[in-house]
């Protein structure tokens, strides 16, 4: 497995996924779309962690453990973020991040 695919290939795939997620989080106007971009970025980070575990430290569990904690934090983040989106939709009748601007100076 490690002979067939160089580590760089996996890292480049994860980097591309991170950049696509960053683009989505920055350019989407819909708040759910922004959250989807953040999820893509978290997945890219997880790919990196698993790849480094597999190629550099396959005998230790640290990489997989870190990836599991990232997944747990991502689940918590998604739950709270979507609850906030629903609460904002109730009072503003919109999910467009640009039109929620009551804190703008």
């Amino acid at each position: 497995m490690t002979n067939a695919i160089p580590l760089e290939a996996v890292l480049v795939v994860a980097g591309a996924l991170f950049c696509i997620g960053l683009f989505g989080a920055l350019s989407r106007r819909n708040m759910v779309g922004i959250l989807m971009g953040v999820e893509l970025m978290l997945n890219a980070v997880n790919i990196n962690l698993v790849a480094f575990w597999r190629y550099l430290e396959p005998r230790f569990i640290t990489g997989q453990t870190f990836a599991l904690f990232v997944i747990a934090v991502a689940a918590a983040e998604a739950a709270v973020g979507l609850a906030m989106i629903i609460a904002i939709y109730r009072s503003w009748q919109t999910v467009n991040a640009d039109s929620v601007d009551s804190l703008r100076g």
């Binding site: 696509i20 989505g24 759910v32 959250l35 396959p58 709270v80």
Partner: protein
Amino acid sequence: MTLVIQLIFGLVAALIIGAAMMVVLVRNVIHAALWLIACFFGVGALYLLLQAEFLAVVQVLIYVGAISILILFAIMLTRQVTGEGVRQLVGGWRLWLTVAISALLFAVVIVPTVASQQWNVPPPLGPEGAPEPLAGPAELGRGFVSEFLLQFEVAGVLLTVALIGAIVVAYEERARRRRVLTLAEEHELRKRAAASDQPAGD
């Protein structure tokens, strides 16, 4: 064997990148969420390829099973977001700025850094032909109750707090709740509106 693994890796990478592109570019938000599920499946397949079987199962359970459903529910609870006519991306110079930021981050920072680094991958351990000693689910479970016990408990507390916080934030008093139209009622209303637009000839 090597060629087969490389072929599978290429397919999985194409699936991940293509699905992620569809997630950020497609107009309909529900379609974006479905492409997100495809992307999560691709990442799970990549974990399987990297021999992290437990993480692949966790990925499918949590991302595909829980987070995607949560996102789909949030889309359904916030109406008027699937709209085809609504612009989904920011416009003008802001769009080009975000394109430039992500493209430059990828082309100028990530790829040169990855390519110029000497990664020093250790050769497979053990005797030739024997399976490599890999940390599996058994070691993970043992680590969670010994080495990473504090972090494990903190993650549990975090999930509990997030759950209660989500309920508190999204909770709505019954008295203040508005009547929400079902899809059938909305369809009926739209049909009636379309009928009233027509001249009342027939």
